[in-house]
Amino acid sequence: MKKYIGKRVLTSIFTLLVILLVLFILMQLMPGSPFNDEKLNDTQRATLYAKYGLDQPVVVQFFKYVKNMLTGDFGVSYNISKNTPISQLIATRLPISIRIGGMAVGLGALVGLVLGLIAALNHDTIWDTICTIISVIGVSVPSYVFALILSYQFGFKLKWFPMLYSAKQAMASSWLPSISLSMFTMATIARFTRTEMMEVLDSDYMLLAESKGLSGRKLIFSHALRNALIPIITVLAPLIVDLMTGSLVVEKIFAIPGVGSLLVNAIQSNDYNVVISLAFIYSAMYIAIMLVVDILYGVIDPRIRLAKEGS
């Protein structure tokens, strides 16, 4: 077990370093400069470059960058919020994004599970088709369209929820964005649960349980569902990360001061430092989640761990 975890951690760290390199290369290739405002003249631009160390050789910049990134010093924002340390910008925004993302995952997983169960237990009936259609609509209508529909119906018409995010009523105003974000999770989990449940229901041990006289609810919930749930953790992980990117548009619509809207604004204003820092944080979170899931999965299901150690 230790060997397995050690190996996974090492791979993750290596991946993170590669990502640092990739991001740096991408940034070097990025067209334009953060200091190209119409009103700056050449001397001022040169001064700004010098001030932020952008005039140094690429190699020097790279090592400085790696060192800073790994020590959590992301530098300052050039444009979005001039001279503000990026760590400060992110520190206040990340919790908001995580909360809304967390609510979305929770909601999506719960509803998706129910839909998937219904579909699996009524395989090849109209219920199955209905669940499929619901889940496909969930993924085929972009979240920003959902966001607007929800906002119009439940915010503007019915006034159940605030239309815009507000720190004063953080919880109430998080519902609409979370719901619009959760559609994708919901749909994926629904389809996944359906497949898993059908597998499990068809398995030999279910037959055994059935022949032992277990029936109905107990059979499904304490035997089938429990087994079907295990692999769901694996899908949940990449979904959480997808949520972060989905939040790019939803945060803009609901005026949420989260990291997603920050990234969109940073891209639009050539604020390199912010873009690169956020991309790094996204990647780090993604890798961390994958790592945790892998380890968790190894703990739960020893076969995987053993197989991995063997390979």
Binding site: P142, Y144, T188, D202, A279, D301
Partner: protein, 356 residues
């Protein structure tokens, strides 16, 4: 249980192709290899076709895809409008279809809730456009939405299919080679894959599109870059299953070179799961393109894709909601039917599901 487990993971594919971790595909023992499968190509495919036909939803999906492809080809030429031609005199007109208009629907009437109350207008009558018909309405530049929707469907399909096919070729080759040679080669290739997998997709695509010049090829390239990982895992897993089988051993003994064995002997046998994966990849590509359009990195104007039409329609959603309806419905239908086909194929290809 053990058998059920490996089966479950490899046959699962959500809307967004699930990118499996390599732990999903490692074989536990020789017992897990289904040596009793028969891959004599003729009868298997016949079998699959029969099973697929029996699954009604899959057939319906196939029909819908055919119909949409049909309209994507001829739709833009059906009513004499050009997809990029503007006519500012007839902008924001509601749908109006000859014949049906007498029934009181699709007659160009439009209800708009203004801040001073809801009013119903018919811009066709107000502007005196008696013989003008926009079947799906016109957009804010007076372009025909019918023509643009099908033109957009065409572009989206081309992007998605092209990206997926390239994915398939790269991913499949990668997975097959990695799986066939095993050992050190496999180790290195799998570590590279793990790293690729660790990079968040959308972030990279977004950055990439900032660097490259926007256009159809760029979008295909960006989509392609990140999607092949899942494909290669499936190919590798299948390879691990097959490479110890008799027909492969026979080829080896006869002195066939590795690449001959990989691409001529094994490849035809794994085409089933790969095609299933393709069916799930296409809708993902369509959807990703739509996201890129919304953040302004989509196809350049005046060209259009379903994604760019939806994001255009989004801007007038509260004023002229009909502008978003057609592209959204076509996109949802496309995604739904590709998923149905994928489901159908998966079940048809998997003998275990047969009895259900």
């Amino acid at each position: 249980m053990s058998k059920a487990k490996t089966q479950a993971v490899q046959t699962f594919t959500p809307q967004k192709p699930y990118t499996p971790v390599d732990s999903d595909f490692v074989l536990k023992s020789d017992a897990a290899i289904e040596v009793d499968r028969n891959f004599a190509s003729q009868s298997v495919w016949k079998d699959v076709t029969t099973r697929f036909r029996r699954k009604k939803s899959g057939v319906v999906g196939l029909w819908i895809v055919f119909i949409i492809i049909f309209f994507a080809i001829i739709g833009p030429h059906m009513n004499g409008y050009d997809y990029s031609a503007q006519d500012l005199k007839s902008k924001n007109l509601a749908p109006r279809v000859p014949g049906i208009e007498r029934m009181g629907i699709f007659n160009g009437d439009e209800k708009m809730s203004t801040s001073t109350g809801t009013k119903t207008t018919n811009l066709y009558e107000e502007e005196g456009l008696d013989d003008t018909y926009y079947w799906f309405g016109s957009d804010r530049y007076g372009r025909d939405i019918w023509t643009r929707t099908w033109q957009g469907a065409r572009v989206s399909l081309i992007i998605a299919v092209a990206a997926t096919i390239i994915d398939m070729v790269i991913g499949m080759s990668y997975g097959l080679i990695s799986g066939y040679f095993g050992g050190k080669v496999d180790m290195v290739m799998q570590r590279i894959l793990e790293i690729m997998n660790g990079i968040p997709r959308l972030v990279i695509v977004t950055l990439l599109l900032l660097i490259l010049k926007p256009g159809m090829l760029t979008i295909i390239f960006a989509l392609m870059l990140t999607e092949w990982v899942g494909m290669s895992r499936i190919a590798r897993a299948e390879m691990l299953k097959l490479k110890e089988q008799e027909f492969v051993l026979a080829s080896k003994t006869l002195g066939a070179r590795p690449f001959h064995i990989i691409f001529a002997e094994i490849l035809p046998n794994i085409i089933g799961p790969i095609i299933t994966q393709v069916m799930f990849s296409i809708p993902t590509a369509i959807f990703t393109e739509a996201f890129l359009s919304f953040v302004g990195l989509g196809i350049p104007v005046p060209q259009c894709s379903l994604g760019s039409l939806i994001s255009d329609g989004y801007n007038s959603f509260t004023t002229h909601p009909y502008q978003i309806v057609a592209p959204i419905v076509v996109m949802a239908l496309l995604m739904l039917s590709f998923n149905l086909i994928g489901d159908g194929l998966r079940e048809a290809l998997d003998p275990k599901m047969k009895e259900m």
